[in-house]
């Protein structure tokens, strides 16, 4: 410090010498740099929680949402969605006890945050894209037909297939 007097400077020097004298020898030894190298491996992780169950009525469509998280070491990825079923009423929720009985209207989806709902089909439809680690929320909506006959207590389900390929 510029404003130090001579007396203070001497005291500082003595203190420095004392510290040096009491420091272990190992700390004074010459150091070698050990370089630890690492390269990022290639991986792709997809995870999603099952969306909560919906309650369907003729008056109000059932809505729910599910978060999908993709962790990729590739610079970008794209998420597509389709019905996991390949046959039957593809895109429509089916009675859990009889897959031949399906709801009249197709399940609809959209990326959270606006936009129009699209009907789920049996072919892949791009939903969104992202980069590296990202989480997206997808909203689902299921409406009943105006004159559709459904019985209270019946359970309907559908398996949503999320697709991300490391390409």
């Amino acid at each position: 410090m510029i404003s130090l007097t001579r007396g203070r400077g001497v005291r500082a020097a003595v203190l420095a010498l004392a510290v040096a004298a009491f420091t272990p020898a190992a700390a004074q030894a010459a150091t070698d740099d050990a370089v630890v190298a690492a390269s990022v491996g290639s991986e792709l992780t997809m995870s999603a929680a099952n969306p909560a169950g919906m309650t369907l009525t003729h008056a109000t469509p059932g809505t729910t949402s599910g978060a999908v998280t993709v962790t990729s070491t590739a610079s970008s990825w794209s998420l597509s969605i389709r019905d996991n079923a390949a046959t039957g009423a593809v895109g429509n929720m089916r009675l859990t006890t009889d897959a031949n009985q399906a709801l009249e209207n197709a399940l609809e989806f959209r990326l959270a945050g606006g936009g129009a709902y699209s009907a789920l089909t049996g072919t892949n439809q791009a939903v969104t894209s992202g980069a590296l680690n990202d989480s997206k929320t997808i909203e689902f909506r299921q409406s009943l037909g105006a004159t559709e006959d459904v019985i209270a207590g019946n359970n309907y389900d559908l398996t949503v297939l999320y697709t991300v390929i490391g390409a």
């Binding site: 792709l44 794209s78 929720m93 791009a126 359970n155 949503v160």
Partner: protein, 523 residues
Amino acid sequence: MSPVRRVTEPPVAVCATGRYGLVLPGSPAAAAAANRSYGSGSRHPVVDSGVSRFVSSHLCLPLSLAFIAAAALQVSPPDAHARKTDRQPLALGGLTVSPGQLNGFAARDLGLGRVELHNSSPVTYRVEVAPALLAQARSGVATPDARPQAVRAAQRHMVSDTKSFVLRPGASKRVTAKLVTPTATHNFYGALTFHATPVTRAKQGASLNTAFWTGPGVLLRPAAKHTHSRASLDACFVRQAGVRQLSYVVPVRNRGNIALLPAGSVVVRRAGVKRVVSTAKLEGKRIYPRFVVDQVARQDAKRLLPKGDYVLSARMKVGRRTLTTSCSMRLAGPNTLASSDARLLELAPPLSTRGEPTPVQASYRNTGNITFEPRAQIVIRAADGAGKGKVWRTLPMRAARTAPHQTGRISGIVPELPTGGRYEFQLRLLDEHGRELDQAVQLVTQRPPASLRDRLPGWLLPALAAFVLLVALTLYRRRTERRRVSAANARIQRTAKRHTELRVRRMAAEGSSTHTINKETYK
């Protein structure tokens, strides 16, 4: 699947043997620590220094207690939960594929190594392993090609040692794959896909289950001396991406046998003026062989281009070659594309009678922002018989010119259809560049011409009406004529009588006797 487990909730102190250091809440290390607790097997390097060793050996327990207390304090405020749920979860239970991508050169009997699938979720999955070829959308999204012929082709080229297996929570499975048929002169752009479906399904109310289709892309080039880097640009066009947001789109077609990553930009000039008014960089999306991908550049939203005509020039470097294309753009307002868009409102079912022309009537709404007349055409196909689906004729229709948001009429006449049976009338609405704006289809069943018996009432009634009218007209004319004649006779008689009276008066005035007068009068 159970609800998502969030790793950001409690702070984590890691004091395990051989791993020293502190992991802060919300940090990647916390995520890694949480992953370890879920059995994901991920590893995160932690600081290992003398200080940390001292801290861990002497202060681990007190610090852990302090962190637990801090965690309790952090969770206790009522708004804590809301605050935490706003954060993006870094690690959820799911499926991890490693490696995520395989790159190299194609060769016969090429071993692709082992691909590991790890299940870090609490759900048991049934996994189907299948090779696939890649299908790429114009947006650039690559997905497994699910068409049967593509699936068969992929199975001819690639085989795996496992076709299906059950993957329990926390378990891993290694699958070995091999390329069989492509030689060094060929490429292979596909994927080794894992189609994972949950073994048990949720059965409460209307519920959705989650399945995954994932896997490493297998991107193999031909040997260097057999690579062809060829591409072409289709005509560029402009898309209204939002309010005052323009996107310039340049479709690039990969005609070579290796994946391409083009780079370039779009230059915007006023029509007829050389000065550049804007430049936008095209985003480089990878294009796999055989596919067309739209490369998009966005107009800077802060730089508003005023109403008028512009010329766009796109320049792209694809491989070693530089390609160019250009197109025009008309703006109806600042950064607002002149849009000649229209939607069909109604195509009235055409009534077709065998041997007679068929009139077609339709209406449309101008959904664009300029006044224009769309091009309309009708495509006629046979709907049954031997030539089902074959186009018989395409004819232009006349569409009225309409202002934005107004409704216009489309009309036209289809000449006599060749044979009986049903026809499909497809009305297409096109813009000035031939781009389809909308279309509608009606099935037309030709009716036989009406029989004489059916047509007789139709003829008889007008004929009868005409006869009655004619008779009425004749009677009216005769009556009018008769009246006219009698009126004329009466007038003559009145005139004669008046003349006689005048003569009598004159003779009386001249002094003639009454007898003479009478005699003369009746002569």
